[in-house]
Amino acid sequence: MDSTELARRLAEIVGERHVRIAEGDLEAYARDATPLFRHRPDVVVFPGDATEVAAVLTLATELSVPVVPRGAGSNLAAATVPLAGGIVLVLTRLTRILEISGPELLARVQPGVSTKALADAAAAAGLLYVPDPGSQVVSTVGGNVATCAGGLRGLKYGVTRNYVLGLEVALATGEIIRTGGRLWKDVAGYDLTRLLTGSEGTLGVITEVTVALVPKPAAARTGVAYFTDLAAAGRAVAAVIGAGITPATCEFLDRTCVAAVEDYAHLGLDTDAGALLLFGDDGDPEMVEASLARIGQVCTEQGATGVTLAGSIAASEDLLAARRCSLPALSRLGSLTILEDATVPRPQLAEMADRIAAIAAKHRLTIGTFGHAGDGNLHPTCVLDAHDTEAIERSHAAFGEIFAAAMELGGTITGEHGVGAAKLPYLERRLGADQLALLRRIKSAFDPAGILNPGKLGS
């Protein structure tokens, strides 16, 4: 079926004004935030509700046309690049916050709501939506669930999957199911909510999300410790956790990242330091003060060259905001920025930092590293010249070695960004052939025609 005819059929479902087929529109949806991946879809469709989503999927299954669901397209694993063409199904019209329930500590939202909008709505009700991805101003809740997004509060509070209570999902075969619901305790059936969380649009299309909220902590504060290098900061993290402290936030940036962030945010960070540890805690005000003082003390014992605590809530917010923008800030250094996402067990953090530095040097690359130190989640980020194809080749080799090193240290190839198309080549090594085969059988149970996000998980 040619794309004009496909567009006509889709227009019968969503209305003509919500279907795009012009070249320019297709080009705009040919990529997400992942560099080096681009493929134009044949048609872009903007459904207005779950019924329309289901009808689009039914049609796609009938015609065997690939469908890539997408929110804001801020993901970094090429999870929303339509590698096989077909339909890009955009959920940005579904932006309603349906319910915030104080007594039940939950929110029900449509998938196109931005993470920040949900967090703000929860805060207005005196509650906290915990997951806190760096891209929260733009990323959508649906996308966060689809990729099981992490963020800056992972250490103490966990990631998106720990907060998803229930989902409404349109299946490739046209049914609309509800998994989980409003209850913390519910073991009726396989845990499809958890299976769908992180499924990257390969099992179904999320049309509604119910998330758990927590009471807003009375106080939250951050501080900064400087070290000579990232490995020293890594050792300090291990010492902090070893001392029985679980900070809400424990992030690190190496020298390259500190310079880039300072260049954008002008916070007065010490750009001479080799690495920076941004730590923070929340809860009862006195407990927060004690916790921060203790973390500062442990860092000093571990050789921190300086420790400062943010003087106000605003200053804390500024620090966290600066950390959230480390990736785009890094792109000031070169025309191509490739950010990766490897996780190691926390005690291996220092070793992993050293190995990344060695790999970067071996391949003559600029690799800045920042990440969620508390979770052992690192984001080695290579900055290079987009026209230097030879350097791009070297970066592929370097990242291959970085993932191998992470797995060798007992870690994984992605902690929070997802597999997408970018990590698929490494997945079998992480899971093994038998598990990968099981993934494929699960995928075909959900999506018999194989239309959902081909070239990604389960392919």
Binding site: G24, A28, A33, L327, P328, S331, S335
Partner: protein, 370 residues
Amino acid sequence: MAGDKIFDDELLSRCMSCGFCLPSCPTYRLTGEEASSPRGRITLMRAVQEDRLDVTDPTVLAQSEFCLGCRACEPVCPAGVQYGQLLEQWRDTEWQGRRRPLLARGLLAMMSFVGMVGITLLGLVRRAAVTRRGTEAEPHLMLGCVERVLYPKVSRSARRLVPALRAPAVQGCCGALHAHNGESERGRRLARRLGRRLPGTIVTTSGGCSAHLTAELGADRVVEFSAWIAAGNGPDPAQLRAIMLDENGEPLPPHASGGRPARIGLQDSCHLRNAVGVWREPRELIARLGEYVEVPDAGGCCGAAGSYSVLRPADSRAVLAPKLDALAGLDLDYLAVVNPGCYRQLAGALKGSRTRVVHLAELLATAAPS
């Protein structure tokens, strides 16, 4: 077309597609469509630069027109993408000859030299600001070709506040509208000419002119009025209260009876805020005049956007709509503006409401001594 680079490669490659700009973009907020976001538009520009799309592609052309040029995407961009410059380069190419919107052609013709004579005469008739002889070292007030015709009271107010401001009648146009409408080079020439005609410091009461002139002549030559007053020029606003007075010095309604401080909000000028970085100063001044009320999303475009409200009235109204909803609940006495485009847009929209739209210079000049 191959080989003819439209965009500065360095500027274009700055964008790493993180999408942090999306929520700041008024047109993306309206549509939720990638192509009408800054990131999406840069994707289109890249496709044009790399010959995957032609400049005549309907989406490419439509998006170059749909963009308000408000530059709200710039301050939120951690990578430092200078979108405004890319947009000017885009429109320089897109809007040549017949492809330029008809109304834009008329508008720019009006700003041409011949038209400027007419505007100058009209401005004189409307007594924008009386020409005053003085020394060249004194700061010059720029009259602005739109402002002097539509709102001559703004420059008169500025002069009343600071009589030392020189305001020669023959100044010409700063070229901002040309730069925004596909004539960057002419925009630059006009700015330089205005710079020669107004030597020394140029004080502007228009956010749009301010941004364009600052970019062409430098921040050491050009200073926006509120920033200039806040820096200690003119009367101390702490001495004033925002009860507007008529010609006889009598309080104007609705404050004739009430002695409470006026509730005053501000609509930022996009270019003043996003390109020049001036947004604290007008707020500080207002807070000294009365009760300052922050308008939700005051930094978000009101839809005026230079010539946009004239060229695309329907889209302009759609951008304005959520702002009017926000204003409806604020019970403001005054909504201060710092740019003639915003003035026209909001004064029209708030006609008949109890909120009076005034330029900050007018508010200062007509405030009663406390």
